[in-house]
């Protein structure tokens, strides 16, 4: 994954709140291998004549401006694959589902946190996203955005976590040895109480 600091591209707006990852990619498409491309599954069941991403002026968009709680719900990274494979590099929303945002960063997609109310009516329009300065300009607007500093560094450098973690191999081994000493039962998973897996405890409705 290559890093980036600056992105210019066409932005489209989708004002709805709570666009969950089931909307971003319905579950029935997730058995496909990534190599087949996930772009065509993006927001599949919301598509229609009035859908903002399908408007003539939205073709080639790479910035998505959305409502509160974008990417909530299921941890499916396929939601990010669908966005990335459809050409998106940036999503701007007032808030994101935590797992979605982490998945986005792992695929070079910026989850930029900002109030989008003023921006949405001006779209589609080209926007300029400066990751280093954390600013968005264009469509007659200039606003800042929030991003976790750890994620910002990762996006800018295009870091791969497995490579990075490899440099800490010795510390991990040392930690594992200590953990095994303190809580040996974590490793000892032999099945000793084979009698049953469920307990007949009386209870209340849950």
């Amino acid at each position: 994954m290559s890093g980036w600091t600056h992105h210019q591209g066409l932005a489209v707006g989708m004002a709805a709140e709570n666009i969950d990852t089931d909307q971003l990619i319905p579950a029935r498409f997730m058995s496909a291998p990534r190599s087949a491309g996930y772009g065509r599954f993006l927001l599949h069941d919301l598509r229609g004549p009035d859908f903002p991403l399908d408007a003539p002026g939205a073709k080639g968009a790479s910035v998505l401006v959305a409502g509160r709680n974008f990417g909530s719900g299921s941890s499916r990274e396929a939601a990010v694959y669908a966005l990335v494979d459809a050409g998106f590099r940036v999503v701007i929303a007032p808030s994101f589902g935590d797992i979605f945002a982490a998945n986005a960063v792992n695929n070079g997609l910026l989850p930029a946190r900002a109030d989008t109310a003023a921006l949405l009516p001006a779209l589609p329009a080209p926007l300029d996203v400066d990751l280093d300065a954390q600013t968005i300009t264009g469509a007659g607007q200039a606003l800042g955005f929030d991003i976790d500093p750890v994620w910002k560094t990762k996006l800018i450098n295009g870091w791969d976590d497995i490579d990075m973690t490899a440099s800490y191999r010795a510390q991990i081994a040392q930690f594992a040895a200590k953990r095994r000493e303190q809580a040996p039962w974590i490793w000892d998973t032999s099945e000793r109480n084979a009698n049953r897996g469920t307990a007949p405890t009386p209870g209340r409705p849950s």
Binding site: A15, A16, N18, D20, D22, Q23, P26, A27, R28, M30, S31, P33, R34, D45, L46, N69, S72, S74, S75, R76, E77, S95, G97, D98, I99, A102, N103, N106, N107, P149, V150, D161, I162, T165, A166, Y168, Q171, I172, F175, A176, R179, A183, W185, I186, W187, D188, T189, S190, E191, R192, N193, N195, R196, G197, T198, A199, T201, R204, P205, S206
Partner: protein, 462 residues
């Protein structure tokens, strides 16, 4: 002075970088058919699974719930076979389709005693928050992170903020963990606990069975929380002791676990309170878990909604086919579903059966136990007969109609009373209309044919 979450966090930090990112040790990693992306990433790099003994596979997301005659859908057969292949190749234990311990990963893990207090538990599934009910730090991760855990047995995280959610008072009859969860999510919002590790506390939480705590923690993610947890106590230890994979020296382990509680005077970044006097049996009316209301309420009117909410409510009502001001108890349902990692444990089935016993469902429906062991136990108690006699289908265990990946779908435009966790558009199938509620409330909807208050139906029973 530390909170429970601080203790769980501290016990797993391998190192913290200067920028604040911490590398955490993973004690238990669950994988399922949906983990195929992560195994493919591992293969692409030629890497092995770092700790196969700490990795457990369960077939749940795609498995058929009607198992006679094997898997007929080639796509689903391929998903199940891929998991089997990956598990075998990497030496990972698998509770596969034909294993008597198979079930939904968040039911099977705790049930087997493979999740234990003090553990850090991850899985490529957002409902991994469930495991917090055992005093563990459980959270869902994406495929890239799953690959990272497979390769290194660690995960990078930034420490979430700490939040305590206090439930004061006691649950009224007919009110359970599902109602408590939907109540707080409606109060604080579907992103109300975003960025927070939530500890559930207070007398009403303490009074919950382990099953109830699993339900409560399961739904943490629906309020946006990173994870949810309940401090271990004797109720938990009694529940855990006889589990197949409970520690050999249980008492020694339990001594350690007894320290897993928030110290008196420890500070949280945020505290919220729920008055149990206000918690009634809850149903959802919209397309987000935050769209929840007591069954005695009416469908909200966008015209009276606060600014900024009106459009979303109107869109939700349009999708759900509901009228503003309509009584929730007047909403007719087409079918019911009892299942999912949220509400398909033995107590959930008992609660639903207590309502259904001696009654007939007015609509069709399906009951899918949370695990094959739960199914066997329920059959031992005669619960399957109660469901069948009521006219409902009694099927095998899996994620089933909660996510629809195995083909168990609600048809377009149909309305389903469901014991699941997400009422998202299309979650149970394209165009499906989902109302979330407790298993007892699903049973009430089944016998009346509409959303219904379970309390009158419980009179003289249970």
């Amino acid at each position: 002075m530390r909170t429970l979450f601080d203790k769980l966090w501290d016990a797993h930090v391998v190192l913290t970088r200067e920028d604040g990112a911490s590398l955490l040790w993973v004690d238990r990693h669950y994988v399922h058919e949906g983990s195929h992306h992560a195994f493919a990433k591992l293969d692409a790099r030629g890497l092995a699974v770092a700790e196969p003994a700490l990795t457990v596979g369960v077939a749940d997301h795609y498995v058929p719930t009607r198992r006679g005659g094997g898997i007929t859908d080639p796509d689903i057969a391929r998903m199940v076979a891929t998991l089997e292949g990956n598990a075998a190749r990497h030496g990972v234990r698998l509770f596969g389709l034909d294993d008597p311990r198979q079930g939904i990963v968040h039911v099977t893990g705790p049930e087997q005693g493979l999740t234990l207090p003090g553990m850090l538990v991850v899985c490529g599934d957002s409902h991994t928050s469930t495991h917090g009910a055992l005093g563990a730090y459980g959270f869902g991760i994406g495929a890239t992170e799953v690959a990272h855990v497979l390769a290194t047995q660690t995960v990078w995280q930034k420490k979430p903020a700490r939040m305590r959610l206090n439930f004061h008072g006691t649950a009224a009859p007919g009110v359970g963990a599902k109602d408590m969860a939907l109540h707080w999510i409606a109060a604080l919002g579907a992103d109300g606990a975003r960025g927070h590790a939530v500890e559930y506390a207070g007398p009403a939480v303490r009074a919950l069975s382990v099953e109830g705590r699993l339900t409560l923690c399961n739904l943490s993610i629906e309020g946006g929380a990173r994870c949810g947890m309940v401090a271990p106590d004797q109720v938990l230890f009694d529940w855990l002791r006889a589990r197949p994979h409970a520690p050999a020296d249980f008492d020694r382990a339990a001594e350690d676990w007894a320290g897993l509680a928030t110290d008196a005077g420890a500070e949280f970044d945020r505290e919220e309170s729920i008055d149990m006097g206000l918690v009634a049996p809850v149903v959802t009316w919209g397309t987000s878990p935050e769209d929840a209301a007591p069954i005695t309420a009416t469908v909200p009117d966008p015209a009276r909604a606060p600014e900024g909410k009106a459009a979303r409510i109107a869109q939700a009502l349009d999708y759900m086919g509901l009228r503003p001001g309509q009584k929730l108890t007047e909403v007719a349902v087409d079918q019911v579903f009892i299942g999912s990692c949220t509400n398909a444990r033995i107590e959930d089935l008992r609660a639903a059966a207590a309502v259904l016993a001696g009654r007939r469902a007015k609509v069709p429906g399906m009951v899918s136990p949370g695990s094959t062991l739960v199914k066997a136990q329920a059959e031992g108690e005669g619960l399957d007969r109660v469901f069948r006699d009521a006219g409902l289908d009694w099927v095998a265990s899996g994620c089933s109609m909660c996510v629809g990946m195995n083909g168990d779908l609600v048809p377009p435009g149909r309305r389903c009373a469901s014991s699941t966790n997400r009422n998202f558009r299309g979650r149970q199938g394209p165009g499906a209309r989902t109302h979330l509620m407790s298993p007892a409330m699903v049973a009430a909807a089944a016998v009346t044919g509409h959303l219904a208050d379970v309390r009158p139906l419980l009179r003289g029973r249970a």
